[in-house]
Subunit: 743 residues, 2 copies
């Protein structure tokens, strides 16, 4: 019902810039459009995500596309194929202004020929050798998009071994047009590098979302299974468009109720909606469920009645959802029950569940995010210490899900030492898409560069060039079972992710899960063109803004390897002063170790020696001040305030400059965005502008609060050029935001 | 991002049925529309409420309107006037396909002349005597819409004493067209019958909503004051369109934090958005706030420091919000603190707050919904017993807010005996719009007939014809201060109210608050035409369905005066078996009193004698079995199962028939709706269809659970024609829905 001033010329420009026509038609057209369109139409609330399907802006490209696609020949008739057909028709109608005619067989050059490789018309095609050889690698989800000659006619073929592969191919084809790529001599063979590309929803049954900052849970459990919200369908569609093929519906801090019949029929309803989009449903398994909803006295994984309870539960689940994906488990971590409550190992727990779902084709994702409640040692070391010895002890259908870093989704962490350390166990990467420690719902932080930094890091597990990505994509240790998980930033907010640019992180996760060799720039460019406009005057500056954004957040929050300086419980805003809590490793002082002598956490041999968990060349690199990257300096080293940095500055001065730089980059981002007003609809422009204002305010808070606090230890003045804090340390220490979302 | 099959002929029909044009233009037009519109456009998600502004469907009416409105002459330039201008332009563009030209002064016949009565052009108009006399009654919010001759030209004048009056007039004028009413010889003078028309949001600061079933709170406190959600604007606009002029943002079970500076700046941001729409902001005052956020030792209303604390707090609030409306208070009720904690009366408490806001023009709305924690007596009597003696003891700026009935928003209650009983105190009616006891977010229950039944009930306070409405609209006791409150059903759901027909209850509240003499049929017809279509083939059957809906809910839940049979805490579903709780009047058996002898709560002289609180003729009518309406029979009487009803049936048989009738009417509603498919967009059609299916399932649950339970007392068989329960009483008693919203 949004009221929007209608700007005729703007309306005309936005939608009709490129239609060829004489003055009269043009005039008639404006009149008609203005008289017929609801006024909201010029406003974009972001609900359509990267699937805007706006008329191709470049006239030449538009003409080329229109003439290049003469007809559509679609084979197959499954629910998935119907979705692909509808998507293609809708996409082309939006992008080209019209959808080419559907035909039962190729009748002219320029036909789009779509279906499985077994389809009549496609199966007889004589693909050349290179294509042929690639086709053999397609598997269940891969697809080809190739230009071919069929009975003397030039056609474009989108084909796969499966219907969902066809759907993925159609989305790729639409993306080519959305990004104004050429359709000439297409030679695309796309196969996902990872088998399981899964979203993790930390959604509770009361619809609150742990670490969710975009409203509440999409899952309206109360109205399920009867009422199917349109959002469920649009959610599946968005995920399919970027190749996400699984979703864990519930929080890792699990509630056993989800495993009761009352809820399983609700889960089934969602699974039925998601299935044709290639999206499998998973649940989190509360380890103590046999007691809580099963009425047993124990949840001991070696107890036969417990094992049988889980077997029967699995059978019950699969009777509702034949393609149920399996369980994600957080056990013996942060108060969650687990096998250790019974003196058993994580392997014992994981294997019991694995046996329960194995016959049904299910998998277990067992999280490595664990640490002793009685803080025996640097938390950095605990996942490795507990899981490394279990290597080889897990069933074939178990994956150990490891966070990108060893602490907990900090703005920047070095890669987790478990990657490469467990040859015999398939590991699964767990990234956080929701910005728990990265400004939550209101800060612009494009996370592709952060993901990339980890994926490309060299573990040296099998000598130089053993990247983190290769340790879990199956290439390094030849595992069949591979996967990646992303903790979602999705909620009930109209634009799904609170910040319009949060959509880019959802998009990035899907794209990297499919192909981790994509560069951040490629992903940003794709997303911008699909979400806003292909106009270079917008694409380039906005892409640059996105590329700088994560580093900016790192700088105004935790530069030079600092970490865990955030507020208590809500994690919103700075609190480097937090100390004296019931466990040291939940305080900030434990992590920054600042005193009059210096700052930083010594994880070398003279300290916790966590660095020893990395392979020699890496551990040496991090241990040695000469070779330790400065972005990780205070992560691994405790150094004097006067320590000389590469820049020549003292550590204290450098710290001040970094914090200040973080703020300045946000201010630069604001200028960039302000210059984009004419390229974007007013609703999204103002939304982002407001959020950047909030981000600037928060960035200043982070910089000033942290510097004022650290200054009480360094006893040094702020260097030249660093803006002096306007408020006192006391002011910041007294800030106490209430009801911060996502707790 | 909803995917909708595009149906060309449908697209054409819906939007272009009525444009006159030759074949070519028509063809060109279809092509253009199809090539330019996003496909979502045919789908309606209900966000636009009753402000759809679709092209007038009746061609003749459309032509008449187009020729009747030649130009728009708008006087004034306040923010409110700008909103009125924009609304009129947008509305007419949608309804007529084009918006008439704006002109600075009347240049031709058919001009729309709009502004305050003081505006040049309007002030010199010589209105005829009858109009003139009516104009004197307009006050601050009333308006006129009249056909006049101005300098020999026929014009339509929309005028008022204030800008907001003009805005109301514009909304009324648009409604005339939306409902396809005639614009000839207009002679409309509209003045609200009540001064304060206020929504009560039971919204908590964590965004949960007590008894809210449409998602979560609209108020995103965390992002306020920086981020202004478009929904705040659309909310204000919708309220202004139906004359609602106040909103209490927070739950009556209050949180003192809202009174802290951190939150007041957020409240101010909302007040600034709402102000130009004539919507005042109010807050709930936690009586113990002086202790909780003021650091005082007491909240005793007779303590000077407490009085001063509230005075200073009021001054602080008004420094942010100069037109702050005042406080709503729930005190000494259901565990809320209040003056009785200090041995003071409700008047002492209310007056202290009244004095704090009096100089600023604020009011206090003090709720009469109270009952002793130690259950001394029939709850029906307690509000009356406590407040009647306080009549005359309240300050001039205090209103006592009384629920429509004496218990608690039951599906049907006789009017509250306090209405008419407090001559010297302005009372405020409190209706519940949210369906706490009426099927919550998924049952279709049009509440106008329920409101009407209460408003038109005769209290006999000043002899026959002293309707409830007149006891609080100022006519009966000549109070200046008048008002009505509605506990909202609004939340973050895309369609605002969970059920599309829940929108009708929001609409109804606004319309009745303005003019309680409107009939339910008039309101239903208006709403249907504005929300769906003016096609009689839809309007009549859907109106009939709505008119039957509330009675149906009463019948399948609590027929013949039964009440309080619902589930524990969540109030979702039946639980007549609830007993043995820590207070008797929170159980079901306390209210239905069913035993082998009979059923019903004796409130006559032989029982609690609550009936004595009504004026004699009413008390006699309710006491006497000959005259007590059967719809209230078991509310006032305990009767044997074999008691003879007017129908000739025994009470037991009649009870069975009533429950069964409730279900049958729901099934009839389903048939009616199924027949409407061609008249309504698929998204809303299917949404309502699904909800009616849920309602049928729940209605059967209510009928069968209650009858099976009561049968254990009556020991009588179900009569002929009543469907036999498919499930057992045990089955229903074991139902235990989890995480029901709104708790």
């Amino acid at each position: 019902m949004a009221v929007h001033q209608l700007n005729l010329s703007q309306a005309f420009k936005i939608k009709y810039r490129n239609l060829p026509m004489n003055k009269f038609t043009r005039y008639l057209l404006i009149i008609i459009i203005l008289f017929s369109l609801p006024f909201k139409i010029l406003a974009k609330d972001g609900y359509e995500l990267w699937q805007q399907y706006q008329l191709v802006e470049n006239q030449q490209a538009l003409n080329t596309y229109r003439s290049a696609i003469s007809e559509i020949v679609f084979h197959g008739n499954s629910a998935t194929i119907e979705i692909a057909k509808k998507e293609l028709a809708m996409g082309l109608k939006g992008l080209l202004g019209k959808s080419p005619a559907m035909s039962t067989s190729v009748s002219k050059a320029g036909a789009l020929l779509i279906g499985t490789l077994q389809s009549s018309d496609i199966s007889p095609v004589k693909f050349d050798k290179t294509i042929q050889s690639k086709i053999e690698t397609l598997g269940d989800e891969g697809y080809i998009i190739v230009s071919e000659k069929l009975r003397g006619k030039q056609v474009t073929i989108i084909a796969a071994n499966s219907d969902v592969g066809v759907l993925y191919g159609v989305f790729h084809f639409l993306r080519l047009i959305q990004t104004e790529a050429s359709l000439k001599n297409l030679d695309i063979v796309s196969v996902p590098k990872l088998k399981n590309r899964i979203l993790n929803h930390w959604d509770n049954l009361d619809r609150t979302v742990e670490r969710g900052y975009a409203g509440f849970s999409l899952w309206d459990w109360h109205k399920l299974p009867d009422y199917i919200d349109q959002r469920y369908i649009d959610y599946a569609r968005a995920n399919a468009s970027i190749g996400i093929n699984g979703t864990v519906l519930t929080n890792v801090n699990a509630n056993a109720l989800i495993l009761t019949e009352d809820y399983l029929v609700k889960v089934k309803a969602l699974a039925d909606v998601f299935r044709p989009y290639g999206l499998k449903v998973y649940l989190t398994a509360r380890f103590s469920a046999p007691i809580e909803v099963g009425g047993l006295k124990t949840a001991d994984p070696l107890s036969e009645e417990v094992q049988n309870w889980w077997k029967e539960k699995a059978t019950e689940i699969y009777s509702h959802i034949p393609d149920f994906g399996g369980f994600l488990v957080k056990a013996n971590s942060e108060g969650q029950p687990g096998p250790q409550n019974y003196g058993r190992s994580h392997a014992d727990g994981a294997n019991m569940l694995a046996d329960a779902v194995a016959d049904h084709g299910g998998i277990i994702m067992w999280r490595a995010f664990v640490y002793e409640d009685d803080v025996p040692d640097d938390r950095h070391k605990q996942a490795y210490s507990e899981f490394k010895p279990l290597d080889g002890k897990f069933r074939k259908n178990v994956m150990v899900q490891v966070k990108n870093g060893a602490i907990d989704f900090q703005p920047r962490e070095p890669f987790h030492p478990l990657f490469g350390a467990m040859d015999e166990t398939p590991l699964m990467m767990e990234f956080q898409i929701t910005q728990e420690y990265l400004g939550q719902g209101t800060h612009l932080a494009f996370l592709a560069p952060m993901y990339q930094e980890v994926l490309e890091a060299d573990t040296y597990a099998k000598g130089e060039g053993s990247t983190v990505a290769e340790t879990f994509d199956g290439t390094l240790f030849n595992h069949e079972l591979t996967g990646i998980a992303g903790v979602t930033n999705i909620g009930t907010d109209r634009n799904w992710t609170s910040h319009h640019f949060g959509q880019a992180n959802w998009y990035t996760f899907g794209r990297l899960a499919w192909d981790h060799s994509l560069t951040s720039e490629e992903i940003a460019t794709e997303w911008i063109k699909m979400t806003f406009t292909t106009d270079e005057a917008f694409v380039t500056p906005v892409k640059d803004m996105m590329m700088d954004s994560h580093e900016a957040v790192v700088n105004y929050m935790t530069p030079l390897g600092l970490h865990h300086l955030m507020g208590w419980s809500h994690h919103y805003g700075p609190a480097p002063w937090i100390k004296d809590r019931h466990r040291a490793d939940w305080t900030s002082v434990y992590y920054h170790q600042a005193d009059s002598a210096g700052i930083g956490f010594d994880r070398t041999a003279t300290g916790s020696n966590a660095v020893a968990q990395y392979f020699p060349p890496v551990s040496e690199k991090f241990s040695n001040l000469e070779t330790c990257p400065e972005k990780f300096l205070l992560w691994f080293h405790h150094l004097p305030w006067d320590y000389k940095m590469e820049s020549g500055n003292t550590l204290w001065d450098e710290l001040c400059y970094k914090y200040d730089e973080g703020v300045k980059v946000v201010q630069k981002m604001q200028q960039t965005w302000d210059g984009m007003e004419k390229h974007v609809d007013s609703e999204r422009f103002n939304h982002v502008k407001t959020f950047l204002k909030i981000q600037e305010k928060d960035a200043i808070t982070w910089r000033d609060a942290c510097l004022l606090y650290f200054q009480t230890h360094s006893n040094r003045p702020f260097p030249e050029g660093v803006e002096k804090p306007a408020k006192s340390l006391e002011y910041y220490m007294n800030l106490d935001p209430k009801y911060v979302p996502g707790i």
